[in-house]
């Protein structure tokens, strides 16, 4: 299908016509991002009320608003409001914020990885972060070995430290060997994850059935254990890393054209790739060590955004950052609805995600080219990405 079919014919001869078209191109994307932000906040407001307690949407909003305004309730005089506030603030709020932060982090990471590794299958875990984290966690759960303290924090610490090992290897390879191709990077990541998952399997096979169960459970991503203490750590890590990633988005469009084109446009390909790999590994390691492996979101959110917005990475990254939380919040809300059947968010995510994913792939709009900037107005396409080195 010609790309001209669903867009008014451009008037490339007049400068004014071109500008108008470019403005509307930008405007549509900004509008979509604004819509996503609104959706996220509404879902957030609704999601805090989903617990064992009977609450309406406004009860939840009021509880949050009152807490922010500093209003407190007395337990004896206003028990309903007191308990609403208590449940929202101590039980659902950290979890909901956790879903927002983790969703944002993983989605942004996935979007960046897909461009940097030049592969639509890439996701935050492609370089082996998850295999390292699982290895670390199993080391703590099965063998009782951990750096520092014992118990939950031992598992988290182990997972974080070992999550960085596979990425460190890949990143060192990128640093030592100039001009290493993304394919080699992915394969190196695959090799290292095989190594670590082999070791993990070794431990899991040798242990008894109950320990196996608990280490299996750790691997399924869950937001149930996130409390206020952990949310700050995750938030700080994700915020810093996302900010850095946001600064690199303008280079990503050039990178998507291929290494040679990017270099000829004045982008230091190795440096950009290096930065993004380090930053996203750090971010994923932080998230992963608290939640376990929440799969699919890093793949789903960017692909959904691309199928709606097109491949312009200046907008794909922020939009993924908002769509990720929306999806993960949705999944987590369902997981809390079904609290008695015990479905961690990682599983709900896959159940919810795969039909959506298939729909966007097979739906009409999914057939657009998603990995090049081909839906941009003609003059800003491959021949002139003015944003690349501004």
């Amino acid at each position: 299908m010609s790309p001209l079919k669903h867009r008014p014919a451009p008037q490339p001869d007049t400068d004014e016509g071109f500008r108008a078209e470019y403005r509307s191109y930008i405007w549509r994307k900004v509008l979509f991002i604004a819509f996503l932000a609104a959706a996220m906040f509404i879902l957030l407001g609704y999601s805090v009320t989903v617990s064992g307690r009977d609450m309406t949407f406004w009860d939840g909003i009021m509880a949050i608003a009152d807490r922010i305004m500093g209003v407190t309730y007395d337990r004896a005089e206003e028990p309903v409001k007191f308990w609403n506030d208590y449940i929202v603030w101590n039980s659902t709020m950290p979890r909901v914020l956790g879903a927002v932060v983790c969703g944002a982090g993983l989605a942004v990471c996935g979007a960046a990885m897909q461009v940097v590794l030049n592969n639509p299958l890439a996701e935050p875990y492609t370089l082996g972060v998850s295999s390292g984290a699982v290895f670390g966690a199993c080391l703590a759960i099965i063998l009782g070995f951990s750096f520092g303290s014992i118990g939950t924090y031992g598992i988290i610490g182990n997972a974080f430290i070992f999550a960085l090992v596979p990425c460190a290897v890949v990143i060192v390879l990128v640093g030592v060997m100039k001009g290493i191709s993304p394919v080699t990077m992915i394969l190196a990541g695959t090799a290292i994850s095989y190594f670590f998952s082999g070791l993990t399997t070794l431990m899991m096979v040798r242990t008894d059935d109950d320990t196996l169960t608990s280490s299996f459970r750790w691997q399924i991503g869950s937001l149930a254990d996130i409390g206020w203490n952990s949310i700050w750590v995750i938030f700080a890590g994700t915020a810093v890393c996302t900010a850095v990633l946001m600064m690199t988005t303008k280079y990503l469009n050039a990178l998507a054209l291929g290494d040679r084109s990017a270099t000829s446009l004045g982008v230091d390909v190795n440096k950009v790739r290096y930065t993004i790999l380090i930053v996203s590994s750090l971010m994923v390691a932080v998230i992963l060590s608290f939640t376990g492996i929440i799969g699919f979101i890093g793949l789903l959110a960017p692909h959904m955004v691309r199928s709606i917005l097109g491949a312009d990475n200046r907008y794909v990254i922020p939009a993924s950052m908002l769509l990720g939380p929306v999806i993960l919040l949705f999944a987590d809300t369902i997981s809390r609805f079904l609290a008695e059947v015990d479905l961690p968010v990682g599983i709900v995510m896959m159940f919810v995600g795969s039909p959506i994913f298939l729909y966007i792939l097979l739906g009409r709009r999914g057939r657009r080219v998603m990995y090049r900037c081909s839906d941009m107005p003609d003059r800003t396409a491959a021949s002139r990405p003015a944003t690349a080195h501004s």
Binding site: S181, V183, A188, V205, F351, L362, R367
Partner: protein, 358 residues
């Protein structure tokens, strides 16, 4: 090569010698695979028998020479170890050639024989058989229920993908993503059942997923060997078309080949072949993705020899890891990952400058 550039005959001679070298390497790999089976088969019996006993058992059965004493010895070597080694070779070969085909038709280095979601479907089937005791074929119980379930359900994702290909025009990347979507769905389903199962069933399902060669004997051998041989032969017959696929969809069109049709046929063939293998052995990872890359790194990308070479290298890899697995009493998947992972990385780093990748 440059030396001969002037004369046409020189170029032809050079090309012939190039092909001959690849053919030699290929045959070398195949011989190595056969040797591996023969040398390693008796290597590790848990009974304390000497290495040469294995060959006297073999001699007794094949040539009627004098049998070593003991029915037990005979049982171990003839009924357990030999079929296991032969099966390992064919399973490894099937997975590797399947991986090679997938990497070519999808033009993605991360593709493996399970890319169509076969592993997740099979895993789901095995999990419901182990954890819930559900058999899709009425009347089957125990291991055969697991095998039947795994086979039937492993074809579901592949069938879905085939349906997508029939009714819609999709690019290879989108097709892979469809496979991944289906894979996640089945993966989630089996995780749910594993989560709800009691710890010992969970352990059983988990072990099934790791891949196992100890359960294959003479009785399952015809199924595995037969499918592998037929499937691989058909794939090898298509090798010319596959090498046209290497030049991209447009390139294939200009050479008079319909890339979608080739993709369709290859997908169907590989799925059937791998589904049978997976049903009997569980999901053995690594070999399907790594063996083709090892061949590509050592031999180059001539498709015909690459397919054959992948088969041989896959066979060598799996037989060797299985021998080690027997000695250490570990699942074969663990051995392959732990030993093969770093090895693969080493080769990758050594060869990274040669641009052999598609």
């Amino acid at each position: 090569m440059l030396r001969y550039a002037g004369s046409d005959g020189g170029v032809k001679a050079c090309y012939r010698s190039f092909l001959r070298r690849q053919k030699l390497i290929c045959i070398g790999f195949l011989v190595l695979a056969a040797l591996c089976v023969i040398v390693l088969y008796g290597f590790s019996n848990n009974a304390s028998q000497s290495y040469w006993t294995s060959y006297s058992v073999l001699g007794h059965h094949l040539f009627g020479t004098e049998a070593p004493p003991g029915k037990f010895t005979d049982m171990i070597f003839w009924d357990r170890l030999l079929p296991r080694a032969i099966n390992a070779a064919f399973v490894g070969g099937a997975l590797a050639i399947g991986g090679c085909v997938m990497q070519i038709v999808f033009r993605n280095p991360l593709a493996d024989p399970y890319t169509t979601g076969i592993s997740s479907g099979a895993g789901f089937g095995a999990t419901i058989a182990i954890a819930m005791g559900i058999s899709l074929v009425p009347g089957l119980t125990g291991d055969w229920a697991v095998i039947a379930n795994a086979f039937i359900l492993s074809l579901v994702p592949a069938a879905a993908m085939v349906a997508v290909m029939m009714f819609r025009k999709t690019s290879p990347a989108e097709l892979i993503l469809v496979g991944i979507g289906i894979m996640y769905f089945f993966g989630a389903a089996s995780t749910v059942f594993m989560l709800w199962a009691n710890p010992s069933d969970l352990s059983g399902a988990f072990r099934w997923g790791l891949g196992h060669l100890e359960s294959v004997g003479w009785d399952n051998m015809p199924a595995i060997v037969g499918t592998t041989v037929i499937g691989s032969a058909l794939i090898l017959l298509m090798s010319d078309r596959l090498s046209i696929m290497n030049s991209g969809d447009r390139g294939a069109f200009t050479m008079g080949e319909d890339p979608d049709r080739v993709r369709f046929v290859c997908l169907l063939l590989t799925s059937m072949m791998v589904a049978v293998v997976v049903a009997f052995t569980g999901t053995i990872g690594f070999v399907g993705i790594v063996a083709p890359h090892l061949v590509r790194l050592t031999m180059g990308t001539n498709t015909r020899y690459m397919l054959l070479g992948s088969f041989a290298v896959g066979a060598v890899l799996l037989v060797a890891s299985d021998a080690l697995a027997k000695v250490l009493a570990l699942p074969v998947g663990v051995i392959m990952s732990v030993v093969g992972g770093p090895l693969f990385l080493f080769i990758l780093v050594k060869q990274y400058k040669r641009e052999h990748f598609v």
